[in-house]
């Protein structure tokens, strides 16, 4: 067991608590940078996709994991980001400006949608966001002058100072760089008053209100930031798939995004990365599975959504803290070995909540 002796308040405020963390995260950064040397084209592409999912995941985690507001409509924000980015590029805007504007635009739409939607909570909120996703999907299909309707829309190649960012190695670095920036922004929020207000709203609205936290404003801020990050991911996603069509942003995408934060571990930024790796690699896993089993099982249509749903349910029942929660338990087991107590993480029932207001 390691005990950290703290001597300065900044140790609790800075991102890295001790040199061990600096070393390991530095090593991770190095591995990220050197990955193109050892990986082939396909794997590098998959890894870029994982990064893109993680960017959207940071956004969704801030909303679901830290503010406690469920959204089943984040595919819509991914779509808005992607289409806006492609539209601006087609107008001839430079790449960084286009990406940044589409992020702001998506964030703005998220903030506006939040105002009516966040009057609801729980299952009603989930249904409202779902409805929003359906509206956006229909809009994409029918607003042909902008989106190209069913025919879809070609995404111009990203160029920056005449460097071709679409080649797979620059694109990998682009996604990695954006992910790091978004991650930093997310962590900054969480260690400052804005993030704490979100956590307060998640854990007890009544109490948050008595602490002077404006519920409506906090929730819509969370929604706007979440939508903005997802829109940013959408812009990169547009380049990844190369050609936009409405069927790239369906309900399944929303569920996939939600699956990512739940499986990764609600309420942890590590969980975003674990979840992104998980859903980024799951389709490949399912493809391998289809080949390995007899055709009568392997060729079942709708296997993917089925597996997604099953995994989501299993995690909710057996490991609500997701992969990150499981990892913490394993780590504690080894740290305390052989004194680990089996019931350390046993879920307790509290009987003191009977008189909660509202």
């Amino acid at each position: 067991m390691r005990y950290l002796k703290k001597t300065r308040y900044l140790q609790d405020i800075n991102l890295f608590k001790h040199n061990g963390q600096r070393f390991w995260y530095g090593l991770l950064l190095l591995v990220m940078c050197l990955a193109p040397l050892g990986l082939d084209r396909f794997l590098l592409g998959e890894l870029s996709l994982v990064y893109i999912y993680a960017i959207a995941g940071v956004g969704l985690m801030l909303l679901v994991g830290y503010s406690g507001q469920v959204s089943l409509g984040h595919a819509a924000f991914l779509a808005i980001g992607a289409y806006a980015h492609a539209y601006f590029l087609n107008l001839g805007w430079p790449f960084p400006l286009s990406l940044f504007t589409s992020m702001l635009l998506t964030g703005l739409i998220g903030g506006l949608v939040a105002i009516p939607v966040l009057r609801m909570s729980g299952i009603y909120l989930a249904v409202a966001t779902l409805a929003f996703a359906v509206i956006v999907e229909q809009t994409l299909t029918h607003w042909e002058s902008v989106t190209g309707g069913f025919r879809g829309m070609l995404v111009p190649k990203p160029e920056f100072f005449s460097a071709d960012l679409n080649a797979y190695i620059p694109f990998y670095y682009l996604c990695g760089g954006v992910l790091i920036l978004v991650m930093l922004a997310g962590l900054n929020l969480l260690r400052s008053p804005t993030g704490r207000a979100m956590v307060a709203v998640r854990d007890s609205e009544t109490s948050a209100q008595s602490m002077g936290i404006n519920l409506a404003r906090t929730k819509s801020t969370a929604f706007a930031i979440s939508a903005g990050f997802t829109g940013l991911a959408g812009g990169l996603f547009a380049h990844k798939i190369g050609y936009l069509a409405p069927d790239a942003f369906t309900l399944l995408t929303s569920i996939q995004l939600l699956l990512m934060v739940v499986v990764g571990g609600l309420g942890s930024m590590h969980g975003v990365i674990y979840g992104a790796i998980f859903i980024g690699l799951l389709p490949s896993g399912i493809a391998v599975f289809r080949d390995a089993v007899p055709p009568s099982i392997g060729q079942i249509p709708g296997l993917e959504p089925g597996v997604f749903g099953l995994i989501l349910v299993l995690f909710l029942i057996y490991e609500p803290l997701g992969i990150y929660g499981r990892w913490q338990k394993i780590r504690l087991y080894f740290e305390e070995f052989p004194l680990y107590r089996r019931s350390t993480y046993k879920r307790q029932k509290t009987y003191l909540r009977t008189e909660r207001l509202r």
């Binding site: 704490r196 207000a197 854990d203 007890s204 008595s210 003191l352």
Partner: protein
């Protein structure tokens, strides 16, 4: 001088008149207790002051300002902090983070500066931490600083909730049954801390309390209620011997 004035406040839920035409005033620098049997409307009065419920009649003034219709989240900004009967802490966070949330109303940063964690935000965090540590020292919570609320015993949670309310640096502190769930020793400590809070920090305290010993020791004035109405108002000794109060508790 009166810090908080209630003028004939009432509230009813459907047919139940929870609070009927209650008037009182809390003077600056005193400990004001509200006592009464279960269902007398004590907590409801707190919920009216902190604007969780809307009054159906009457008016509330804090420091001369009409607060009868201000939004609930503005109450804290005016200088009223509160605790809850069964604790409403942010359960999945550490004690320290709970206290920092208490400092929220003193923030000067906005979303943008938070996103980039500008130097001003860092300075603000340090200042918040310093203030939180002062409260931790006052209420002796040092050993719990980094523990998650869900793992703490009930008595400590009650103290953390008072600590969080103190982090708001309020002028009026509403304590809803601070001693419920505390053992006699902890209750004893609580009465000393109440003294510190009033005398050292200059905070006016209003509390709902069932422990008559604590009420007698700590409070300057007591309001006794039954069935949503005021039955007595005066010093602890006066109220304890008031015939109406005896009837409310013991029956005829």
């Amino acid at each position: 001088m009166s810090l908080l004035v209630a003028e004939g406040i009432s509230v009813s839920f459907g047919g139940v008149k929870a609070v009927q035409d209650v008037s009182f005033s809390i003077n600056e620098g005193e400990v004001f207790s509200i006592v009464g049997p279960n269902g007398a409307g004590k907590t409801t009065i707190f919920n009216l002051i902190s604007r969780i419920y809307n009054t159906t009649g009457g008016r509330l003034f804090f420091d001369g300002v009409d607060i009868t219709r201000v939004p609930a989240h503005s109450i804290a900004h005016l200088g009223i902090a509160r605790t809850f009967q069964n604790t409403e802490l942010f359960d999945r966070e550490t004690v320290l983070k709970n206290l920092l949330i208490g400092a929220h109303i003193h923030r000067t940063s906005n979303v943008l500066s938070d996103l980039f964690f500008l130097p001003g935000v860092r300075r603000q965090e340090l200042a918040f931490r310093k203030a939180a540590e002062d409260v931790i020292d006052l209420l002796d919570l040092r050993s719990y600083r980094d523990q998650v609320i869900a793992n703490l015993p009930y008595g400590v949670r009650k103290m953390v909730e008072i600590a969080r309310a103190l982090c708001l640096k309020p002028r009026l502190l509403l304590l809803d049954e601070p001693s419920s769930g505390l053992n006699p020793e902890e209750t004893e400590d609580l009465s000393f801390w109440l003294e510190d809070i009033v005398e050292d920090l200059g905070i006016t305290v209003a509390m709902v309390e069932h422990d008559m010993k604590l009420v007698g020791q700590a409070s300057d004035r007591v309001l006794a209620m039954a069935d949503g109405k005021v039955i007595a108002l005066g010093t602890p000794a006066e109220v304890q011997t008031h015939p109406e109060v005896l009837r409310a508790y013991l029956g005829d």
